[in-house]
């Protein structure tokens, strides 16, 4: 059983972010593995382990040939990675990202299952996994809080507001997993030492046959303007003169929450 995991390498959220003049995130600092994707990596490692064979391959679209986030996932136990990095990818939107990832999956070749997070921590459009599935012509199962594979069938528990739905499909398929689907392991020291020597296949837009379809040229979205989030309003203060309860009820009714 071979599992491909989409892993996004994102700017470290503990460092204050900066925007470029074109409104995209400054990604010049060393990125980290998106924590959302550590769940997919762990899930994949466990599924491969349970299947008793196969391997986990990572795919990532990232600027500047960045591998530091990939290394973390390789240290956790993934066998190899495909890294799409090329100046031609600059400006790629979510659909473009999905095109790149779908081509990477085809390049890997023998995937039974593709895992991604439901949404990334920096972009969080939450659209890439289904787009990848559509481009590959594979079923997409989303919001999985539990994933099981048996006899060529993937069964997930799809998180809903009220509980969960059980959803099944044949393989290959794309599954997006929620945080908490499994507890990600710490990379072992041995894994960390070995990560540097694991193969990373560096690919360009041309390698993937995507020249002209990605980057600013191919993007259907553009970021027109970036504004500060509005400051929180000061709120209203009541001195309790015995009518506070009524005022609170009126306030909540106004908000239509009661």
């Amino acid at each position: 059983m071979n599992v491909v995991v989409c892993v996004k390498q994102i700017p470290d959220p503990s460092v204050p972010g900066q925007l470029e003049a074109d409104h995209t995130l400054d990604r010049s600092a060393k990125p980290i593995l998106d924590e959302s994707d550590s769940f997919g990596v762990e899930m994949a490692l466990q599924l491969v382990d349970a299947a008793g064979g196969g391997e986990v391959t990572l795919i990532s679209l990232a600027p500047n040939g960045e591998v530091s986030g990939l290394r973390t996932a390789l240290a956790m136990g993934a066998a190899k990675a495909v890294l799409a990095s090329d100046d031609a990818f600059a400006g790629t939107d979510a659909l473009g990202t999905a095109k790149v990832l779908a081509k990477c999956i085809e390049r890997v070749g023998d995937a039974d299952l593709v895992l991604a997070a439901t949404e990334s921590s920096d972009g969080y459009t939450g659209t890439v996994p289904v787009q990848v599935a559509e481009l590959l012509g594979w079923p997409a199962l989303t919001f999985a809080k539990k994933v099981d594979i048996a006899d060529g069938v993937v069964t997930i528990q799809r998180q809903t507001e009220a509980g969960y739905d059980v959803v099944q499909s044949s393989l290959p398929a794309v599954v997006s997993v929620t945080a908490g689907v499994v507890e990600p392991r710490y990379p072992s020291f041995k894994g960390i030492m070995a990560a540097k020597s694991k193969p990373v296949d560096n690919v360009t837009a041309a390698d993937l046959g995507l020249d002209g379809q990605v980057g600013w040229a191919g993007a259907r979205q553009s970021i027109v303007k970036v504004e500060q989030a509005p400051a929180r309003l000061a709120g209203e203060k009541f001195e309790d003169d015995g009518t506070a309860a009524e005022k609170i009820v009126a306030f909540l009714e106004d908000l239509k929450v009661i």
């Binding site: 392991r185 070995a194 540097k196």
Partner: protein
């Protein structure tokens, strides 16, 4: 080496996350309650595969010894073993010290000191019997040399004694301030061999004891100034009978007149190099806490960091950090080159690092003012913990005598 390598940084990030997630939530119980550190340490070992690494490195070393070869085992192909270098040992020490330095003492005495004593002096059978489980933290070890009447003058005033009785030894004496003493499964007991000769001429010998042996009593943890996450206790031996299988080396021939002392001195060197890493963790944490505090605490209408008296404290902390980090890097470089620090150099490094950590931690308390004196702000704990670095593993004064003796020899 002037900075941590990429791999080292990954190790540091991972361990830092572990400490924040798994250790820090227990800080209260570890530092102010009765929680022993061992389960958390085992979790650290299993989370990062340190237990498996230790086991396979041990097995390779023993295989080599059984084949009659000497020297440390080389790393295997996938970079296991010693390839990550001392960084794999020192980074967890540094990161743990940012939360609970006592945990490092408990860990270091078990996997460092106690197992090292057995690995240095024991027979292959003894190493297999005791050292492997210590190195993986499956068993907890204690190393007992200090006695109520013998501390700095460890060998001279030592009263614990082994008498030969047929083909057995009878052990008597008390040990105090023994790290892990209350909980240890495996104890290296250092004493003098009474062959009817005057105490000053007696050979220093080492035995391995197991918890629960007849005549061995392990006290409850002693109340201390700091290092609460490292249980410290007393050991009482009342006619504990052991066979030669528990004498390290399994033969008295292994203990020529001064040899026992030399073996213990080798252990002192290991102990002292670990202290620099502990000091670095404490200093880094003090800076991490003090710098933002100096920027955000407003008095007389300004952040206190604007005052030169506070700036001087911060600047001196940074100087200490750079110097101690340099000592840690030196240790790593020397180990990578297959060289060990001699006793005098290890003493110099330990002396400087311990004093620097103490000074930095007290200044951190000062920067925090009244808050600094309150347990909630952490720095008071670091200050109490740092003090012991000037006392155990040889007091400052003893380090000075070792340095001076080497200079004047």
């Amino acid at each position: 080496m002037f900075e941590w390598s990429d791999e080292h940084q990954m190790i540091r990030t991972a361990v830092r996350e572990f400490v924040d997630k798994e250790v820090r939530p227990h800080r209260e119980a570890l530092e102010h309650g009765d929680m022993p550190p061992y389960e958390l340490l085992r979790k650290l070992y299993s989370s990062f595969g340190m237990d498996q690494m230790a086991a396979s490195s041990f097995d390779r070393r023993i295989a080599k010894e059984e084949a009659g070869e000497t020297g440390r085992p080389t790393a295997d192909a996938d970079g296991e073993g010693d390839a990550g270098g001392g960084g794999m040992t020192l980074l967890p020490i540094i990161e743990l010290c940012k939360c609970s330095p006592g945990m490092v003492t408990a860990m270091g005495v078990s996997v460092g000191l106690t197992s090292a004593a057995i690995m240095n002096k024991g027979t292959i059978a003894q190493k297999k019997r005791w050292a492997r489980d210590l190195l993986t933290l499956d068993k907890i070890g204690a190393w007992a040399i200090t006695e109520p009447n013998s501390g700095s003058d460890a060998f001279g005033s030592m009263q614990a004694v082994a008498r030969i009785d047929g083909d057995e030894f009878v052990l008597n004496g008390s040990k105090t301030f023994i790290t892990n003493g209350p909980f240890a499964d495996t104890i290296v007991f250092i004493c003098k061999l009474d062959e009817g000769n005057p105490p000053a001429e007696r050979r220093v010998v080492q035995f391995v004891l197991d918890k629960g042996m007849t005549g061995l009593e392990q006290s409850k943890p002693l109340r201390k100034m700091g290092m609460h996450s490292s249980p410290t206790g007393m050991l009482f031996l009342d006619d504990v009978r052991v066979g030669t299988d528990r004498l390290l080396g399994e033969s008295l021939d292994a203990y020529a007149a001064k040899a026992g002392r030399e073996a213990s001195k080798a252990t002192f060197t290991i102990e002292r190099t670990g202290v620099a890493a502990m000091a670095l963790g404490i200093i880094e944490r003090c800076l991490e806490l003090s710098v933002p505090y100096a920027k955000s605490r407003i008095q007389f209408g300004q952040p206190i960091g604007n005052y030169q008296l506070i700036q001087l404290k911060l600047a001196k902390m940074e100087v200490a950090r750079l110097n101690v980090e340099g000592l840690v890097f030196r240790t790593l470089e020397m180990a990578a080159a297959g060289k060990g620090m001699g006793l005098a150099q290890a003493s110099a490094s330990k002396l400087y690092a311990a004093q620097a950590a103490m000074e930095v931690a007290l200044e951190a308390v000062q920067i925090f003012g009244g808050n600094g004196y309150m347990a909630e702000y952490e720095v008071e704990q670091l200050a109490r913990d740092a003090k012991v670095l000037q006392i155990y593993a040889g007091t400052d004064e003893i380090q000075i005598t070792h340095i001076a003796r080497a200079l004047l020899a």
